[in-house]
Symmetry: C2
Subunit: 322 residues, 2 copies
DNA sequence: TGGTTTCCATAATGATCGGTTATGATCGCC
DNA sequence: GGCGATCATAACCGATCATTATGGAAACCA
């Protein structure tokens, strides 16, 4: 198929017709548009043969629009205005005078990281609208893949001591925001409460309080390495509840620093693990979205809120398969 | 000056963005528009680098519009609709389903020629709007030159027997509608009332009734050729009044056939002149307007109303200088 | 009236645009 | 793990759309 259904009127043509109508001659229309006179002359000729209509009446050395020509000049106003509006809207987005970022972050980051990010963003680019939704990494990444989200703040536990992440990050780009140390939280009355560090094997007999599914998986993985299978007595995704349970002496729990720094925990002891275990806090987006100004601004704000200088540690690593 | 202010958004681009939004993929957008897939791919790329903005988010093998892309797709609707409207209006004019003709004709043609023309036009193209104004040739031609008129119906006396016309017809095209024989009108009581033909010199002693300035000029010219200077006793542009004056025996007059065929004139005799004198009835327009469908239709109708087959006698002679 | 100016038209030229076909890379699916 | 669908890229090609240079005709003016 040849597929030659070329439209007979285009925006450029309309603009020329309007200029002729306004200026009254080809020459001054050309000047007004920044073209030379023959350009207008040919443009009109092309338009006339495309429409199969006489658009301009040449009488002597003056030109006048025919009825058809006036029709085009009249429509030009609306079309060009709409085009300008579109262009303006685009440049507004490009210049961060407009735009939208849809952010999804996991619950425990909502406490400090996200509010700080939103504040930075608001101060720096007050005209872009930021949407925030709380979601665990599996859901936020799904939303990202699905096009319902621009930036996902996720976390990934390190498997053993190698930085292998358990999510499927193919096709996505990640930006490392911070490392979040995981600590063992025990009641202050616990015999090991004042140790320098905690070796997990020493707590194999405890009752355990587990968090979200992935956190629970991480606990099981660490315990397995330490050679035991933890007795999980309680499960709750609410870290404040976890700390409450520990305070009440109902068990011990693994809690990341990000939580401990945000929530009050006077009546529990948070011991560093030995060997240490961390999770990475990551900002995730797609290669294309990364180049959208509003998204880029959000990523920068996230890095800044996380304390890592966005200029120094872009740390863009494309994740390998899970 | 280089004058490179090329607009960053054009109608074609908008159409492509809208197609992508509607179809959900480059390939089906290409099918919908009758293009191949790479055409869409490149079009998007060009648009993106012209706007300096990411318009499409490629994730895996699916594509989605970014916010900026959605902006374009949204504006596309209005712009394309306006463009279609303009196009439709043009083709309506081209197809005589719309359009306008502004006709100006000299008074004595209003009697028969113009009404017949309007009737033909109305029957044949009921959707075009015809405007009619009565005006003597100098004014109607001025209107034509001025752009206030599309077709002027004028008359031109032949100077002597050569077809030299006294109007400035440069830059205009004329279409000969009919030849109008000029007769000498005398009261039926006149001694020469029943002659076969009238030799002008025989009436040098009469009192004359003159018409419009150009008709008066024609009378003077003919009389001059016949060797006398007519005694013009009355002047009126109203031919009916002229006939009335002749009937009352107040003088003689030169009256063209066009009038005699339309007005009652029982009580006067209309003698052919010897040598004969004619005036040409002409339709005048500009070369460009001539090609406008509605104008062409009007010209055809005029020819038909005048009794000359428009197909056989186009008689397009570009007038020389006066 | 005849020269000058001021228009528009045309020709020759070149860059870019905007399509094509052919081909490659990659994701998702069975 | 091949296969099909999808987008990207390369090479090519014609039409578009601008340029400069030039011509002709109309209007203007002394």
């Amino acid at each position: 198929m040849i597929g030659y259904d070329r439209r007979m009127i285009d925006a450029a043509g309309l603009r020329v017709m309007k200029a002729i109508a306004d200026e009254g001659s080809f020459t001054s229309a050309a000047n007004a548009l920044g073209f030379t006179q023959p350009a207008i002359s040919q443009m009109v000729r092309r338009l006339e043969q495309r429409t199969g209509t006489v658009l301009v009446e040449r009488y002597g050395r003056q030109v006048r629009l025919t009825e058809a020509g006036q029709v085009l000049a009249r429509h030009a106003v609306g079309v060009l205005a709409a085009l300008d509006a579109a262009e303006e809207e685009i440049t507004a987005i490009a210049g961060l005078r407009a735009g939208r970022v849809r952010l999804q972050a996991f619950p425990s980051s909502s406490a400090t990281l996200v509010p700080r990010t939103l504040a930075i963003l608001k101060a720096r680019h007050p005209d872009i609208t930021v949407t925030f939704t709380e979601a665990e990494p599996p859901e936020s990444l799904a939303a990202l893949r699905n096009g319902d989200c621009d930036v996902a703040v996720a976390f990934a536990y390190e498997g053993g001591d190698l930085g292998e992440l358990e999510e499927d990050l193919s096709l996505l780009v990640t930006r490392r925001l911070m490392d979040d140390e995981v600590r063992l939280v025990v009641p202050t009355t616990h015999p090991h409460a004042h140790d320098e560090a905690a070796s997990l094997a020493d707590f194999s007999g405890e009752e355990w309080i587990a968090g979200c599914p992935r956190c629970r998986g991480h606990l099981l993985s660490l315990a397995d390495t330490a050679g035991f299978r933890p007795n999980v007595a309680f499960e709750t995704e609410d870290y404040v509840a976890q700390l409450g349970l520990v305070t009440a002496g109902l068990g011990v729990a693994l809690v990341p620093d990000l939580i401990l720094n945000a929530a009050k925990h006077d009546e529990v002891a948070a011991l560093p693990l030995s060997p240490a275990s961390r999770r990475q806090i990551l900002a995730v987006t797609t290669p294309d979205l990364q180049r959208v100004p509003a998204v880029a601004a959000a990523l920068d704000a996230l890095c800044e809120a996380a304390g890592s200088d966005p200029k120094v540690s872009p740390a863009e690593l494309v994740g390998a398969k899970a």
